[in-house]
Amino acid sequence: MAILVNNKTRVIVQGITGTQGSFHTKLMLEYGTKVVAGVTPGKGGQETHGVPVYDTVKEALSEHDANASIIFVPAPFAKDAVLEGINAGLELIVVITEHIPIKDAIQMIEVAKRNNVNIVGPNTPGVITPNECKLGIMPGHIFKRGEIGIISRSGTLTYEIASNLTRAGFGQSTCLGIGGDPVIGINFIDALQMFVNDDETKAVVLIGEIGGDAEEKAAEYIKREFTKPVAAFIAGRTAPPGKRMGHAGAIISGRAGTAESKIKALKRAGVYVVEKPKEISERLKEIL
């Protein structure tokens, strides 16, 4: 089962000829992801790692059957690329690009919503369903197929926790990076709703951080209706207010967005919140 991506996911890489796009196309192919076409305006007719390149998404779709894309287009052009993907009829768009202006993010996410398109990101490592499809830039070898769903605002911290889980014998159904920006497409609640309907997923790991109130909102949802066990780690307990901690979204504004507030809300919702990343697998052993 899993969520969002599986072995039927057929992928277009937007921005395939750039350094990042080309590098990760190779890694996705090696992982077994069905990358069927790439798009870079003006480079139609070329090939990247054996993948045919087209000038437009529409053209790529007229030659290949695809339902998802992954975007490596630089920030100034990323909104355009996302809108092109939506317009061409894709169902899922993963936006790897960091530093997209917030106004662009708001607009592209609104258009996606009106067209029932799922956006992952921006500023995400992507999504992986182990052994089936890696639509992202995460190192594939640290994941193993299993029963744990992961939802995270961070990249490397997710790898830290996922590899811990794998070593402890807990595989993953799907691991989803929702992105480190303030405005993102799929959020914690959307992802939890997908995991609740996925029979393969027995428990969910939520990796949050300071900034905004997405974790508090997720806690309300979990308390109200989420039926599977959830373990969580929240990064940034020592972060000072008013400073952006790397991610555009990781900032305590005034009194809002502190780790304490998130931890408190999650605990109140019955979530197992741990202090150290390695304790996630220890808690899961007790729960499952």
């Binding site: 106004k103 995270s152 905004g212 997405a214 990064a235 790397g246 990343p277 390695k278």
Partner: protein
Amino acid sequence: MKLYEYQAKEIFKKFGISIPRGQIADTPEECKKIAEEIGKPVAIKAQVLVGGRGKAGGIKFAETPEEAAEIASQILGSQIKGIKIEKVLVEEKLEIENELYFGITVDRSARKYVAIVSSRGGVDIEEVAEKYPEEIIKHYVDPLLGFQGFEARDLVKKIGLKGRNLIIAADILNKLWKIVEKYDAELVEINPLIKTKDDKLIAADARLIIDDNALFRHPEFEKTMETEGKEFNERELKARKEGLAYVELDGNIGIIGNGAGLVMATLDMVSLYGGKPANFLDVGGGADPKRMETALEIILSNPRVKVVFINILGGITRCDWMAKGIIEARERIKIQVPLVVRMVGTMEEAGRKILQEAGIDVLDSMEEAAKRAVEIANRIAGDE
């Protein structure tokens, strides 16, 4: 990027929002001259980018030009929350009837801009939201259509504006939206918007924050950016120039890692074991040896740093490159403080080999490494 009040007010003025008569000054003499021109009591306002300026004594009033000069000489060169005041804004003192709040910002959960008005202006809006939530009136701006005139009129009517002022207030709100659109603002705020005794609406204060990620399409702010430095110290400025995410803290354990979440968690682990991080530094994804070298250089220029903890989890970042950067930095800048390195992931073997040959131990658990860094820091602090 945060703009100073006087810079934000210049933009307000350009868009036709009424602001008090006044000018910027950087000497008491200038201040006196401006007060003379205004010809009535003035407000003297320190130009700083930190909040809570009023409470910190950064806003004062003067009855005469002489008094204005006297006050300016006290404010100029003094500090608010560690930031030196170099400019004051001298403005006519307004006859206040009441104070309103008008602002537009991003609501992250709604994934939209939100316009907020309140009849309780002049105080911290978060406090109003906590104590009197019913007096905060919000409207989510349609991301594709923008903010319409009737929507603004609906909002300002709800806080009791009538007649000519209803039209003017709605117009101010719509203009704030135009500023958001034109300049990619994350936040634009008038707090307070003053209703004067002669029934005029004037923006007594102005806050404007531009989305850093949109600066590439705003060459008009290039000059403004030169004034931005005041918010940051030397190391923070250098890091910004190098594109490294760096935040200085007050501890003695320097921290470098890759990925914002991982670095935040690293700081948390250090604190959990009783240590005090000196900074947050994220070298980012796919960093090369040079980047690690620069990161070390920035961190070690902080005299408080007694030990450095490097936490690398190689995904798209190569451990061997990070190891190379560490060795090169050590040779070039003669690192005097102990290094604790945790390194796992892509090219881990090669990275370990490079470091071990140079006599640097490599650990593989982040928790263990954090504990070790804290022990060393405590030992050094104990010796001093």
